[in-house]
Symmetry: C2
Subunit: 351 residues, 2 copies
């Protein structure tokens, strides 16, 4: 297959850029003695998960049981699901996963721990639980050392569970605060006789400051493999580091200054970035994607020195790449003249 | 299957509400002598398309060739694609569709018409083309009567094409202006000896004012079947008319006033509505979905008199239903105690 044979809209992955992003992150980890456990939510592809492991990652991170099932089926042997997994259907699937791979999960409540305890009862093969702590993001996670210690103790009390450590999804730009909060957590647990084996930190935006989070023992960046407009706007790399683009066709040019692409919110997603517009046109950097409807992107090309013709194709860097790869059944890996379509194996695994 | 057996996140469709929405729209059309050609982009399900036809629709509307292929495979015989279809791969697929169903498409440029003319050359079985006109939405569409007439003439000049009429995607809340613009278009075409056979108008938000658009001969509402928070905020019905909800589980309750659901932007989509928040909790109407990350919805329940427990399930009415049904591989039809899973056959048909 050649690039010209790909119909639009389609996802293109520049494998040279993606490989460079992976290598840079692993090099940073190696140089700083850090352990990587990349999050596969961004790419949802077993081939990239395997590549991340080959470069030195200790395991991978999946956000949902369904993603982990796909990765386990592909031969990935060590998976962390940093999520409160609740309800008998998912806990039964989790037990099946636990029988075949090295598995760890998260909890931030007694109810979640009780669910795990009810489905994992074998002291010879306990399920590893990390307690989620809130270090400022205001999403999930216990908020006091006392809660943390109490939950760790509940886990240790359950015969089929083992307290593995703590995890957090950090707020952006607060590396020092996150490190301090993790330090407090470790101190409280150690004082209680429950020193954590793992302290897991996440997030691509602050990944290149993660060496300052000295209290973490592993890091879970995801978006870094492809990057996107949001990452660039947050100061993480440049637009040249964006490996994923959406190939689009100009379908209309109704008036001077306005063109319309065949990539709407069902291709680019409506996620906003801290910069104006719904995507960056690689070949027309002065264009602004002013609005998306479901199958149309309206683009203001008034500031562009040249304007693409109807039928011409352009590449769009999306605002938030993780939700875009979840919209397409396949991506196209592009390496020079070589193009290969690969199904997004873990797409839509919401449960 | 019962409701309790459905794991989350999952889409539930209340078929009683959906049927009432379909019937109400058809009744309005019948009472006003209007012709309905519903847009299937919202549901993407052959069963609903067939139901819409059984109630009286003259055909259906699909936004992409891929959606039309799925509907044609399911036996739908009359499909309008109100889109500029460009490039040999799609035009070849369009030609294959044209051989087996009654097909019409749109164009707003000479380049689009040239593409159709190059792939459709049989005067005995011409392709029907509607010229798209901009009636104020500022998306696609020719903007002057002269352009409209010139494009209609180009279509008529091509042996394998036939000028069928005009179409528009109307701006919201501008029924009188849309009707006037359509009237001007009809007048210009008639004066040029090219009276349109069809004048096609679209959109759910103003559908219950569509009888005032007397110059239109057909209407293409889509969202009306399920409705959503955006439609309600625009004054189209009430929350009780929303047939689609996303079943979610409370996965965390880290502090008083904040719960977290397992429905993030990969389940609810990041589309905004003209009301605060990312969804409406049916059972907790005072809750506000303050933020979405990919697999978490953070909900402020401070104003709620009762708060759901961790593990409890709630139903969320999304902001924009059309992008939500595109995120799930299946929906669950709920009718009293009866629940049936149905694949979203035309999901992800972006091309």
């Amino acid at each position: 297959m050649t690039l010209d044979e790909i119909d639009t809209p389609a996802i293109l992955i520049d494998t040279t850029i993606a490989e460079a992003n992976l290598a840079r992150a692993q090099d940073y980890a190696d140089a700083n003695g850090m352990t990587l456990r990349p999050h596969i939510k961004t790419h949802k592809l077993p081939m990239w998960a395997k590549r991340q492991l080959a470069l030195g990652a200790v395991g991978i991170t999946c956000q949902k049981v369904g993603e982990a099932e796909v990765m386990a089926d592909a031969g990935i042997a060590d998976i962390f699901i940093p999520y409160n997994i609740l309800g008998a259907p998912k806990l039964k699937r989790l037990a099946a996963l636990h029988r075949r791979i090295e598995l760890s999960v998260a909890a931030d409540s007694e109810i979640t721990v009780e669910g795990y305890a009810a489905h994992f009862a074998d002291p010879a093969h306990p399920l590893k639980i990390l307690v989620e702590i809130d270090t400022g993001a205001g999403r999930c996670g216990v908020v006091t050392p006392d809660e943390l210690v109490a939950l760790a103790r509940s886990i240790e009390t359950a015969p089929g569970l083992i307290f593995e450590g703590v995890m957090t999804y950090p707020p952006r730009g607060k590396t020092a605060e996150v490190n301090a909060a993790l330090g407090d957590a470790v101190a409280a647990l150690t004082a209680a006789g429950l020193p954590p084996r793992r302290v897991s930190n996440g997030g691509s935006p602050d990944y290149y400051h993660a060496a300052d989070v000295t209290n973490a023992t592993e890091h879970r960046p995801g978006t870094y493999i492809y990057s996107d407009r949001m990452q660039v706007a947050l100061g993480h790399g440049t637009l040249e580091d964006c490996a994923l683009t959406v190939l689009a066709t100009v379908v209309s040019h109704p008036v001077p200054g306005r063109i319309v692409l065949d990539t709407g919110s069902k291709a680019l997603a409506a996620d906003l970035a801290p910069v104006p517009g719904h995507g960056h046109l690689v070949e027309y950097p002065d264009a602004i994607v002013t609005s998306l409807s479901e199958e149309h992107a309206v683009v203001n090309v008034s500031a562009c020195s040249a304007v693409p013709e109807i039928g011409q194709r352009v590449r769009v860097i999306p605002n938030h790449v993780c939700v875009v790869s979840n919209l397409f059944d396949a991506v196209h890996l592009v390496s020079g003249d070589h193009v290969e379509a690969v199904p997004v194996a873990a797409r839509g695994r919401l449960g």
